[in-house]
């Protein structure tokens, strides 16, 4: 499997790019990574925040949530990734791989930015670790801030679904 050096993480507060600082032998990752993600002390040595793009407004967040939920890469995320990741010379292959949480977003990144992406068992573990410790990586972001952002965004997203998505069938009947 190719080495994953970056992780593109989507949160209710904004988009984040993480960099792997310690690249251990990939062959023994499962047990190793699983254990190391549990404590921030250890996880903070494996991953470092490279860049963070906070959402500028509730509308901005909702647009991104709508697009991300359908596997579309938001425009602000394209700009964010192209400025935050190392430059790739034209005609050359990128020397790094970005871990993504879902293959569709990986395809979108590969197509628009010509950057190889990966979504596998290793990235799943890294995502679990980031989700667990996310607020510790972002300066000035308290866990309660993140919870508020999740709550506000979930309300906006769910409201828009029950209001406008009338064609989707209610089939969940026992």
């Amino acid at each position: 499997a190719p080495m994953v050096n970056y992780i593109f993480f989507e949160s209710a507060s904004g988009f984040a790019l993480f960099e792997r600082t310690e690249s251990e032998d990939i062959g023994k990752f499962t047990e190793e990574v699983q254990n190391s993600v549990l404590e921030m002390k250890r996880f903070g040595k494996i991953m470092r925040l490279a860049s963070f793009l906070p959402f500028t407004s509730a509308e901005n967040a909702l647009t991104c949530q709508n697009e991300i939920s359908e596997g579309i890469l938001p425009e602000c995320a394209v700009n964010f990734l192209s400025t935050s990741l190392p430059k790739v010379k034209e005609g050359k292959r990128a020397k790094f791989v970005v871990g993504v949480s879902e293959p569709k977003i990986g395809n979108a990144i590969s197509e628009t930015l010509s950057i190889p992406c990966e979504c596998n068992d290793l990235t799943l573990e890294l995502f679990r670790g980031i989700r667990l410790h996310f607020h510790n990586f972002i300066d000035g972001l308290k866990s309660t801030d993140l919870e508020k952002a999740q709550l506000g965004l979930a309300h906006a997203y769910s409201r828009s679904h029950v209001k406008f998505d009338v064609n989707r069938a209610d089939k969940h009947i026992i």
Binding site: C64, R131, S158
Partner: protein, 249 residues
């Protein structure tokens, strides 16, 4: 208005052995939760108000086991129930939020419930219920595709599932792999004839447990929900049990 079971000082409310739950001792005993939003019923359930130690009023909401699988499991004597104060819970199959509201009472202001429901009619009721309960995050989305709501959910301590779908075990696994902490708690309600109506319920339950074990769930307990539900089982246990968690027990 006071609930009918209230009637003032006759009712004594005692803590249940599960944290955050209570038993109101009156004419008939009733399972209750401490109302997070005093003065309000969510779905017409009775409320019981008792005098607190400092002369204040404490209000409980009666939790009907015929309307809630978790209440049925608790009254059925389930040993471990981790929906307690401060816990973060991912709740799959939230419907209109009746049981969700009790889980919201249980986890309290410091906890959080991510409530997922795909059908729009109950989803609308769920969203409305959440307006007054800010520890519930309403998610109207398909639990089969947890990646669609990955921006809305953090890591959780517990997963509860009552989705009544043939591929329920897969749905629970997909969600847990993304959101449930190592050593986290799960409770799954299994309705036998939703999964396979051609074989005995006991065989269906056994098969579902096998599927869960293959996905790194360690079931610790299984009970049926008689007399509250027919051919239903509730299975609880630990996801990815950690060595440390094992030692603690």
């Amino acid at each position: 208005k006071d609930g009918g079971k209230g009637g003032g000082s006759k009712v004594v409310v005692e803590p249940h052995r599960h944290q955050g739950m209570f038993i109101a001792k009156g004419k008939e005993d009733a399972l209750c939760t401490l109302n997070l939003v005093p003065g309000e019923s969510v779905y017409g359930e009775k409320r019981i108000s008792v005098d607190g130690e400092e002369g204040n009023k404490i209000e409980y909401r009666v939790w009907n086991p015929f309307r809630s699988k978790i209440a049925a499991a608790v009254l059925g004597g389930i040993d471990t129930c981790e929906f307690k104060p401060g816990a973060k819970v991912l709740y799959l199959g939230a419907a209109s939020g009746t049981t969700v509201s009790h889980v919201s009472d249980l986890v309290g202001e410091t906890g959080q419930v991510f409530a997922v429901e795909f059908s729009h009619r109950p989803g609308r009721e769920l969203v409305n219920m959440c307006k007054k309960r800010t520890n519930v995050v309403p998610i109207v989305e398909d639990a089969r595709h947890p990646q669609r709501y990955r921006m809305l959910v953090g890591m959780v301590d517990c997963v509860f599932a009552d989705v009544a779908q043939p591929d329920q075990a897969r749905i629970v696994a997909l969600n847990s792999h993304q959101f449930l902490k190592n050593g986290g708690y799960f409770m799954i309600s299994i309705k036998a004839n939703c999964i396979d109506s051609t074989v005995e319920p006991a065989a269906v339950f056994a098969k579902e447990i096998k599927k869960l074990q293959a996905e790194n769930f360690k079931p610790s307990e299984q009970i049926t929900l008689e007399p509250y539900e027919r051919d239903h089982a509730v299975v609880v246990g630990t996801y990815r049990p950690t060595k440390k968690a094992k030692k603690d027990k």
